[in-house]
């Protein structure tokens, strides 16, 4: 097990992503931030706070549960649903930024795009992730990346956030020495 | 005629000795032919053949479930040498013609004595007395009458029947079930029926009829037999009636001595039976009643049904269980292994006393001079019930898979070996 991002590095990465989101979207006016539970939701909240500080405005963060849209439902016992909350109640015409902790096969994001599709018609959908570990199985890419970490498939990347894990860090497990 | 020297069998009191069979009877050693076949019965127990006053053989009319032949084979496999066949056949055994037909079929097959029970009322409809004397005077010599499956509910009809059979020392065997209190009933009424949503069959529906009938029997001074008592209250009524000197006898089935109503939780209709399985408290009272003589005998209420009658919804399923082949083992387990009865006492309740009630003079004893109706049992051995291997034509046993004590090894009817357990 080794730590690849510590607390300071995580917060610097999120701050940079916040700036990049603002730059790309010319401000925060039309933004809807949607974190994918569990940890993506906390990252989304932190990014919302950073954007508010930078812009001196108010911006709520929402959540998007993708459980019902997963393509691996039949591989596991049913999962408990997690909350979905859309700030302002609608994504129609908005610039939606999906936020997740680890970007891997791309299947979670595909499910999220399906979920968004059921909810309305955003102007654009962008993706922000803290870690991109590679091994994509679908033609999906991230717009904002905290850190690219080349990994082997048998390794696992874990993001710990102080909101639920009592510490901020990103670790990698199963790496052969 | 076959002659046998049965060597070194224990009797029901544990006394070991030889028994001699010749000319269809138990004889003295000196009367035995020189070429008598020797049966080494060391380790086996010789018991008088069991007598079952309550079976359904389904012939004529429902031969897909059982026939006199297959029922007789099941009886022999269970150690029975005499069985009484209830009249709810098609047509109903309410005439001399039908009872003679059943009687002759039994004689023809010669595996055990089959004594038909005549219907009390025409068509078992409870309204008009059947020709009871004619059935008694027929070749079948019917003495026991019952509308089993239905209750003789009209008190006047019951009174007349009880009076009428006195002419020939007959007896009315009552299926005690108040029909109004049991309309569409499915199982014992109580906590389990309430939970399962199956229509309840209250104990009082049985007890009220027993109470009425013992009073009628007292009033007209006649013999009454209560079929399959199942409730603690019923036992108490019979106990009091006997104390008053009323001529009442009663039977209990092996399944009511062992099984309880909570088995219906599986909704498996193999546990659907009339009268229904009752509670643990009732089972205990039945065992005690059988032990103290309140309940005189064990009778199986062997009720075969074709597979499709049980492979369906509970409400739609037929009532009844088969029991001839498991009766002795179940009774032995619940009464002797629990020390409520000695082996000799149990055998009296399976053989001597039912023979007395039915006046079946060739059964109930292995004394010299008696017809050689007996069975050899291995009481130290156990066996597992496999419904596919039973002799009965039907498979509706609730005891499938049970491991039971007491293996019936051989059964003899009038000195002829009619059943021998295949060694495994």
């Amino acid at each position: 097990m080794s730590v690849i991002l510590n607390s300071g590095e995580i917060s610097r990465a999120l701050r940079r992503i916040s700036h990049e989101i603002l730059e790309r979207n010319h401000g925060s006016e039309n933004l809807v931030l949607l974190g994918i539970p569990t940890r993506g939701a906390y990252l989304s909240q932190r990014i919302a706070v950073a954007i508010c500080e930078i812009e001196k405005t108010t911006l709520e963060s929402g959540t998007l549960d993708i459980t019902m849209y997963r393509d691996d439902l039949r591989l596991k016992t049913p999962r408990t649903l997690l909350p979905t909350t859309i700030p302002g109640g609608s994504i129609d015409g908005k610039d939606v930024v999906l936020i997740d902790d680890v970007f891997y096969s791309g299947r979670t994001i595909r499910a999220a795009l399906d979920a968004l599709n059921e909810m309305g018609r955003p102007k654009s959908v962008q993706l922000a992730v803290l870690i991109d570990r590679g091994h994509r199985e679908l033609p999906i890419r991230a717009d904002f990346v905290g850190k690219n970490i080349p990994t082997a498939k048998e390794e696992s990347v874990r993001v710990h956030l102080s909101e639920i894990d009592s510490v901020d860090e990103v670790i990698i497990e199963g790496r052969s020495l | 005629m076959n002659s046998y020297r049965i060597k070194a069998a224990s009797d029901s009191n544990g006394k070991v000795g030889d028994h001699f069979v010749s000319g269809g009877k138990f004889v003295k050693e000196g009367e035995l032919a020189n070429d008598a076949q020797v049966i080494d019965a060391k380790g086996l127990t010789i018991l008088p053949g069991f007598v079952d006053l309550h079976t359904h053989l389904r012939e004529p009319g429902k031969e897909d479930a059982e026939t006199v032949l297959t029922g007789s084979m099941a009886a022999a496999a269970g150690g029975f040498t005499a069985i009484s066949a209830m009249p709810n056949t098609l047509p109903v055994a309410d005439t001399a013609g039908v009872v003679e037909q059943v009687y002759r079929l039994g004689k023809h097959h010669g595996i055990c004595d089959v004594y038909p029970i005549g219907a009390v009322t025409v068509g078992q409809r409870g309204q008009v007395l059947a020709e009871l004397s004619a059935m008694n005077q027929s070749e079948a010599g019917v003495r026991i009458f019952s509308d089993d499956g239905y209750c003789v509910y009209d008190p006047l009809v019951m009174r007349r029947a009880l009076e009428y059979v006195k002419t020939f020392d007959g007896i009315i065997a009552q299926h005690a079930q108040d029909p109004r209190l049991t309309e569409d009933s499915q199982m014992n009424e109580g906590e389990v029926s309430a939970r399962l949503g199956l229509k309840g069959w209250p104990a009082v529906a049985e007890e009220a009829v027993i109470a009425r009938d013992v009073l009628l029997a007292e009033h007209v001074d006649s013999r009454l037999h209560i079929c399959h008592v199942t409730t603690a209250g019923g036992v108490e009524i019979v106990r009091n009636a006997k104390r008053r000197g009323i001529m009442v006898t009663a039977e209990v089935t092996p399944h009511h001595l062992l099984l309880t109503d909570d088995l219906a939780e599986s909704y498996n209709p193999v546990y659907k039976v009339n009268p229904p399985l009752r509670t643990r408290n009732d089972v205990q009272a039945l065992r005690e009643g059988l032990a103290d003589g309140t309940i005189d005998i064990i009778a199986t209420d062997h009720a075969p049904h074709p597979h499709e009658s049980k492979d369906c919804e509970w409400d739609a399923a037929a009532f009844g269980m088969i029991g001839l082949e498991t009766a002795f083992s179940i009774s032995y387990q619940v009464m002797v292994e629990t020390k409520l009865l000695t082996l000799a006492q149990l055998v009296d309740r399976l053989s001597k006393i039912p023979a007395q009630i039915g006046r079946y003079e060739d059964h109930g004893s292995i004394d010299e001079g008696m017809a050689a109706n007996f069975t050899l049992a291995d009481l130290g051995a156990r066996w597992q019930v496999e419904r596919s291997k039973l002799e009965s034509k039907s498979r509706n046993t609730p005891f499938d898979g049970l491991d039971l004590p007491g293996v019936i090894s051989k059964t003899f009817h009038n000195g002829v070996l009619v059943y021998e357990r295949k060694s495994k």
Binding site: M68 | G190, R195, P202
Partner: protein, 320 residues
């Protein structure tokens, strides 16, 4: 949980999980998400041996919102036509590859037998069997109660529920009693003694013969439908006498607690067990029960059918 045959199949946690899931699905439905791809490719058969348009439509809507294929199989009239019909139907459904069977039958235990007799392999959901149980109705009732009185969270502790009417013949009452007790509610059965089952003392609920004595202490009153044919079986003398003692009307409702609600599983006999003004009053959540039924049945279908079957589980191993 492989089937849903009885409330007894659920632990308290599982029951709450169904309610939580239903709550989330109900919330999503308000936010315009009406349909999920979750059960695409699964086949749900509505096997109804008894007429019940409401329950069938509710299950059908739930299955369709989860993108399941729905087959409606109405085996009318054949209910107790001498055995076998249930078994033969089950074998047919097995051959058709049904993943789940929602069964309504007039015989108590029919769902149980369908699941346990190995006639078919799919998931069995009991949509009402005889006078035994109707578990999804109890779940939607609990959902409705929790939504009104507990903010859609946790269990139902501290709530007193009165169930009024024909307890003896009610599958809704049986399932409700089991679930409400499981969730910590206090339950009192209110009916004339003829409509209370023998053996009720083992159920751990209070019994009262007087609605007026109880009504002021209740947070919830569930009014059961009176089957008119019961009258001929001597359970009560006349409709009028029943309504006088046990019918809910606005006069009786005056004494109710502030936030108390009125429920009925439907269909109602207005003027018999419930007066029209009671059924349409502000306390009545009867219409909402119907809407909640769809969410709860979606949750049940998702939790029973949305995941892997055992066979599928054993061949998995994919990463996400």
């Amino acid at each position: 949980m492989k089937h849903l045959l009885s409330i007894n199949d659920l632990s308290k946690d599982e029951a709450i999980e169904i309610l939580d899931t239903a709550a989330e699905l109900a919330r999503l439905a308000e936010g315009a998400v009406k349909k999920f791809p979750t059960l695409r490719g699964r086949t749900v058969v509505n096997l109804f041996f008894e007429d019940s348009t409401r329950t069938r439509i509710s299950f059908e809507a739930a299955a369709k919102r989860l993108s399941a294929d729905v087959i409606n199989f109405a085996a009318k009239g054949s209910s107790l036509s001498k055995g076998e019909s249930l078994k033969d139907t089950a074998l047919t459904l097995q051959a058709m590859g049904a993943d789940a069977v929602v069964i309504r039958h007039s015989a108590s235990g029919a769902a149980h037998q369908l699941a346990k007799q190995e006639w078919m392999k799919g998931v069995v959901i009991n949509a009402g069997d005889g006078t035994h149980e109707h578990p999804t109705q109890a779940l939607l009732d609990a959902f409705t109660i929790r939504r009104h009185l507990k903010g859609s969270e946790g269990d139902l502790s501290g709530i007193k529920v009165g169930i009024v009417g024909d307890i003896l013949h009610s599958r809704v009452a049986r399932s409700n009693i089991l679930l409400l007790k499981k969730l910590g509610a206090e339950v009192v059965l209110i009916a004339p003694p003829t409509l209370i089952p023998v053996g009720v003392s083992q159920w751990g609920v209070d019994v009262s013969y007087s609605l007026d004595d109880q009504i002021k202490s209740l947070e919830v009153i569930i009014v059961l439908r009176v089957q008119k044919e019961r009258m001929n079986d001597l359970y009560f003398p006349t409709e009028r006498e029943y309504a006088r003692g046990y019918g809910l009307n606005s006069e009786r409702m005056e004494g109710m607690k502030d936030k108390a609600i009125v429920m009925h599983p439907g269909p109602m006999n207005r003027g018999l067990e419930i007066s029209a003004d009671s059924a349409d009053s502000a306390r009545s959540v009867i219409v909402e029960q119907v809407a909640n039924g769809v969410s709860v049945r979606m949750a049940v279908l998702y939790l029973l059918l949305g995941g892997a079957t055992f066979k599928e589980l054993s061949s998995s191993g994919e990463n996400l």
